[in-house]
């Protein structure tokens, strides 16, 4: 079996080396920033949850679900992590999963770690969390907000790949075809991601509402 048929994430060689290294440098700087900001999100209650969220994302990413004949999708996890443990800690959670998958399971290239983390962790979390905050402010409903956040986060992560391919794609395949196909498939994957994210966030909120970062954050803002 060839490697690229079973892997879940971008292999080495799909984006050329200079552009891959450029994204790796951006990611190292961004994760350093996240590490400093995460200190404010983490306390004795949230540390165990953050560890568990990373492990849960690893587990659920193994379960590809069908979206079209011959095409599957899997959770990326950015919106899920950000809603539960905060955006900075959440970005670190998804990044840890991608590092473990690349180095331990040979899934996702090593020079491609920068681009994979930029898409699924940084972009997925930023777009997903931004959407979650806005949607929750307008609807005050956690489940639907989580669903929408996951859809937007997934599509933005896919568009991250399209941008990287536009800058440093190593193959002579038309950008418009890649962009259209990535958008369509990831809209469908986003719906699956949205269902998983909404169910998970709702389950945690029912059992331990004190643990859900998005709820704590908005509660802190309201009394002022």
């Amino acid at each position: 079996m060839t490697q690229q048929l079973v892997a879940m994430h971008m292999s080495d060689g799909i984006i050329n080396v200079p552009v891959s290294l450029m994204f790796a440098a951006i990611v190292v700087a961004a994760l350093g920033f996240c590490g400093r900001r995460a200190q404010r999100e983490l306390d004795e209650r949230t540390v165990p949850l953050a560890g568990l969220v990373a492990a849960f994302i690893f587990a659920v990413q193994m379960v590809n679900f069908p979206i079209l004949p011959g095409v599957s999708g899997h959770l990326l996890g950015g919106a899920l992590a950000a809603i539960l443990v905060g955006p900075y800690t959440g970005a670190l959670c998804v990044s840890i999963v991608l590092v473990v998958q690349s180095l331990l399971f040979a899934d996702g290239g090593i020079t491609a770690l920068g681009t994979n983390i930029a898409n699924m962790s940084l972009l997925g979390v930023a777009a997903g969390y931004g959407t979650a905050v806005l949607a929750y402010r307008f609807t005050a409903r956690l489940g639907p907000s989580a669903f929408l956040a996951a859809v937007v986060g997934t599509v933005c992560a896919a568009m991250g790949f399209v941008v990287e391919y536009a800058i440093g794609g190593a193959a002579p395949v038309a950008l418009t075809a890649v962009a259209g196909y990535m958008f369509g498939t990831h809209l469908l994957i986003g719906i699956g991601e949205g269902v998983i994210t909404a169910l998970t966030v709702a389950a945690v909120a029912r059992a331990r509402p004190d643990l859900v970062y998005l709820l704590r954050r908005t509660r802190r803002e309201v009394p002022a």
Binding site: D12, M62, V100, M182
Partner: protein
Amino acid sequence: MRFWAGALILTLLIAGGVSYLASAHPDGLDSATLRGCEVVEVDGAEELSGNCIAAHADEHPLTGSPLADYAIAGRDHTGGLAGVIGVLVTLAFAGGLFRILS
């Protein structure tokens, strides 16, 4: 305590059991990179023929490593155990890092 135990057990069950039900078809990104190629058998091994993005992909440098492709030493039907190991490693790595950061 019940919450933490339940969440960990659920996570291990997903990685160790539910993962066997996963679709084996390529995901959105992989199918995008495979468009334009056909998978052909050459001497019993699968290769790509045609012009697609995935034809430019390099083999992972750790392809021969013990847990590569979510299997134990490449053996069939060991994905569940590989998944359980992955969950525990991720939990230890993330838990350790977040403890240091907090």
